[in-house]
């Protein structure tokens, strides 16, 4: 029980800090604005030949790219700032386990991302008004966004523990998220299959985020996809605690 209570206390403080610094508002506004304008301006949402009122290709293809930037930006301060200002010494001499602090902080940042994602709800209303969308793909799309954001945020969290500089964390985490996306896009997988064999391609495909994201946004919430994201998040948060502990010893 005390673990949950500690996580809740840390979560609360971190969430307030995210909104106090105004950064959370900025991220939410930028995310909603960009995802909407990309959908309407770059895509054929209103194209005459649109076959159905679907969000799968018009809207849900964008959040992955936006979250790749947004998640590191939201998460970059999580541990870098604590280490820069020395408050980590305060936090870790409180009667709580390191993982309580890690999970509390992570969930607070995830909440900001989730709020940003959910604020795109007008597009769902629009589509529902204009046509008859497949609700499964809408839910799947949103889950895909949140899981993808959660994974990118977990990577950021681990990187953040490594450095005192938020900017360095942002750049490194961004590069890692981008890399993880790239290794599993179809052209790379084809190249890998041709040159290094099918097994390598399989490994790349399952480690990268591309396939997992695209499958989920189609409404395929498979066990494998959920396990992929959850294990990635768990691994990165575990890595964070290892980094935090090893930095002191």
């Amino acid at each position: 029980m005390s673990a949950l209570k500690n996580i809740w206390i840390v979560y609360n403080r971190e969430l307030k800090a995210q909104f106090n610094s105004m950064l959370a508002y900025v991220f939410i506004v930028i995310f909603v604005l960009l995802s909407m304008s990309l959908t309407f301006l770059l895509d054929d949402f209103f194209a005459p030949n649109a076959q159905d009122a679907s969000l799968e290709f018009s809207f849900f293809r964008w959040p992955m790219w936006l979250l790749m930037f947004l998640a590191p930006a939201v998460g970059m301060r999580l541990w870098a700032e604590e280490q820069r200002t020395g408050t980590i010494e305060l936090l870790l001499t409180m009667p709580l386990a390191v993982w309580h602090a890690i999970v509390g902080k992570y969930l607070a940042a995830l909440s900001v991302i989730t709020i940003a994602i959910l604020f795109t709800f007008p597009i769902v209303i629009t589509v529902a008004y204009l046509g008859d969308p497949d609700n499964g793909t809408v839910w799947g799309g949103y889950l895909a966004c949140i899981f993808y954001g959660g994974g990118a945020l977990a990577i950021t969290c681990a990187v953040s523990a490594l450095t005192r500089s938020s900017v360095a964390c942002l750049i490194i985490a961004l590069a890692l998220c981008f890399g993880q996306l790239l290794i599993a896009i179809p052209p790379v997988l084809e190249y890998a299959a041709d040159n290094w064999g099918g097994r390598v391609a399989d490994v790349l495909g399952s480690l990268g985020t591309w396939a997992h994201y695209t499958e989920m946004k189609r409404g395929v919430i498979s066990f494998a996809n959920v396990v992929f994201y959850l294990s990635m998040i768990g691994f990165c948060l575990f890595l964070t605690s290892v980094v935090i502990k090893s930095k002191r010893s």
Partner: protein, 327 residues
């Protein structure tokens, strides 16, 4: 309450703390002295469970910090060096956050605010506070749960003289029923607030004792400053030198009819006063001044913690006056 056994900490090749052991009991205020980089903060961080020791153990009220760090941390209040704070919070919301983590309530927050004189700024954002207020906010954080053990890393750093005095009094008052360790550079503080002091240098304990015992280790300690008239200065000096138990006589000023200087005993004992008085009585000299030197803590500190090169430089300088007297 605090028991530190053979504690060592190395960062890579560098040995920051080298086999330190000490105990602090309830009702004791331990002053932690040492030059910068001596390992004071590192030791305190290990006591509070922030840094894991490379070897050795820390027991807080019988709890091994390495085995049950959460249990130990509950009993400790800690003021880290440089008083880090979440600058985006207000003073009272920050203290409430700490109180929640410590399982304490609003009344404890208010009490801590009162003790640390934070009333006027409690609704202010921490990043707008002056250094003194920031420091006191962090101090409030450390005493909020009324801990049995307090570890304060330079608690008076950055405070003005009045605030320093207040914090010293606070430490002294709280020291009556707690075990307190605090580090400082200011030696009067040790005399004012500590019941015991430890001097550490290059990661090792080089002196441990009550402030008065430490002061007795100063080279000037136990010597007598005298001013005597009624005879030629050189004569008085040779008379003083002939007293048994006098190691040397250092001259400050000498004239046709008077002498002033310092009589340094061969052992650190305080019996020369009587001999000097008797000498004056026998020879019909006028003893204008006779004062026992107590020895100063900063002198002890400098002597113990100076580097080898400083010692040799100092020896060269000090040889001259001795020669004059022995000639």
């Amino acid at each position: 309450m605090i028991s530190v056994r053979n504690l060592s900490k190395s960062f890579g090749q560098k040995l920051a703390v080298d086999d330190i052991s000490f105990e602090v009991k309830k009702g004791e205020v331990l002053g932690f002295l040492g030059p910068n980089g001596a390992g004071k903060s590192t030791t305190m961080r290990m006591v509070t469970g922030y840094l894991p020791p490379t070897s050795g153990e820390v027991f807080i009220d019988g709890i091994n910090v390495a085995e049950n760090s959460i249990g130990a941390k509950q009993k400790i209040g800690y003021l880290p060096e440089a008083a880090p704070l979440y600058s985006d919070m207000t003073v009272s919301s920050f203290l409430s956050f700490i109180a929640e983590l410590r399982g304490k309530g609003k009344s404890d927050v208010e009490a801590a605010i009162d003790i640390c004189f934070l009333g006027p700024v409690k609704r202010q954002s921490i990043d707008t506070l002056s250094k003194g207020y920031r420091h006191r906010t962090c101090l409030a954080q450390s005493i909020l749960h009324d801990p049995e053990i307090l570890v304060l890393d330079e608690p008076t750093d950055g405070l003005d003289p009045n605030q320093k005095q207040e914090v010293r009094n606070l430490i002294k008052r709280m020291g009556e029923d707690k075990a307190i360790i605090f580090s400082t550079h200011i030696l009067e503080e040790v005399e004012a607030a500590c019941t015991r002091a430890i001097i550490i240098d290059q990661g090792r304990v080089v002196a441990d004792g009550a402030p008065n015992d430490l002061k007795a280790k100063a080279s000037g300690s136990g010597s007598h400053t005298v001013k005597i008239s009624g005879m030629a200065g050189s004569g008085i000096r040779s008379e003083l030198s002939s007293i048994s138990g006098v190691k040397m006589v250092r001259e400050f000023a000498s004239s046709e009819s008077s002498f002033s200087g310092q009589v340094i005993p061969s052992k650190k004992i305080n019996t020369n006063g009587e001999s000097i008085f008797n000498l004056c009585k026998e020879k019909g000299l006028l003893l204008e001044e006779l004062r026992v030197e107590e020895g100063r803590l900063d002198e002890v500190f400098r002597e113990i913690t100076k580097t080898d090169t400083e010692i040799s430089e100092r020896n060269v300088k000090e040889e001259d006056p001795e020669k004059v007297v022995q000639d």
